[in-house]
């Protein structure tokens, strides 16, 4: 097993554990902190997969902006920030185990090559050329979606404010 494999396995383990902890701990603030670690962890995986632009984007957008937005969400909707969620009981765990079993069976039954493969590195310049050239339509669509989402979000937040 190569050193890269070991690093990947370690980082992947941290990703799964932090994602699970984020959804299982009872304090919302702790949830957001775990999910922030999860986002940083995924950025490390993107760097391992030689996608540096996406790694930086993940750090800026997810670990930065989305985490802060979630903190704001908690701050404006709770009287006490560190208030606990109700415990979920034993109910969800059989469901979680069943989902894990489905995932493992689907992965084991696939015909994807199992050995190590070389990773193709793409320079950010090539990616930006594609984003503004061949895939320019996607970027335009994203911009339009963001503008309509912005209008929708402003409408939702302002609705009923004048009453």
């Amino acid at each position: 097993m190569s050193p890269e494999d070991l690093v990947f396995l370690g980082v992947a383990g941290v990703a799964v554990v932090t994602a699970l902890l984020a959804l299982l701990v009872r304090e919302l603030v702790h949830t957001i902190m775990w999910v922030a670690i999860f986002f940083v962890d995924l950025a490390i995986i993107y760097f391992l997969l030689e996608a540096p632009f996406l790694g930086v984007l993940q750090l800026g957008v997810y670990a930065g902006a989305v985490t802060i937005l979630l903190f704001f969400g908690v701050m404006v909707t709770r009287k006490r920030i560190f208030s606990r969620e109700a415990a979920t009981g034993i109910g969800p765990y059989p469901l979680g185990l069943a989902l894990l079993a489905i995932v493992l069976v689907a992965t084991a039954g696939s015909s994807i090559p199992g050995g190590d493969l070389p990773i193709r590195s793409i320079a950010p310049a090539t990616l930006s050329t594609t984003l503004f050239g061949v895939d320019g339509g996607w970027l335009l669509l994203l911009g339009l979606t963001m503008m309509s989402a912005l209008a929708g979000a402003i409408y939702l937040v302002r609705e009923g404010r004048d009453e």
Partner: protein
């Protein structure tokens, strides 16, 4: 040049999708639901990045381009989701989705 196994990355992505689905199906707090959706969305983005890393040149560049667009979409979704959280909190005084029954028949 770095070498990794494609199946390892895809397995991680599948497990993360499972964790996200678990959260979506079991949690009732709107912010936790949003976080679960983000985990599942990140699993999908990881899939695109993995196939971009191990595919040929055109697939690689397109895969990463789609991943960039998906990151933007996910951020947009969180912004709209939090606007819904604020509206729900003002209307019901709680962000428990089980209590948001206005649209039920």
């Amino acid at each position: 040049m770095t070498e990794l196994a494609l199946v390892d990355v895809l397995a991680l992505s599948a497990v993360l999708l499972g964790v996200g689905l678990f959260g979506i199906l079991t949690r009732r707090n709107f912010i936790l639901l949003l976080i679960a959706i983000e985990v599942a969305m990140n699993a999908a983005i990881l899939n695109f990045v993995a196939f971009a890393a191990f595919g040929g040149t055109p697939a690689a560049v397109s895969g990463q381009a789609i991943a960039v667009v998906l990151v933007g979409l996910a951020a947009t979704e969180v912004a709209v989701g939090l606007a819904i959280v604020l509206a729900l909190n003002r209307l019901r005084g709680s962000i428990n989705v089980a209590e948001a029954v206005q649209l039920r028949l």
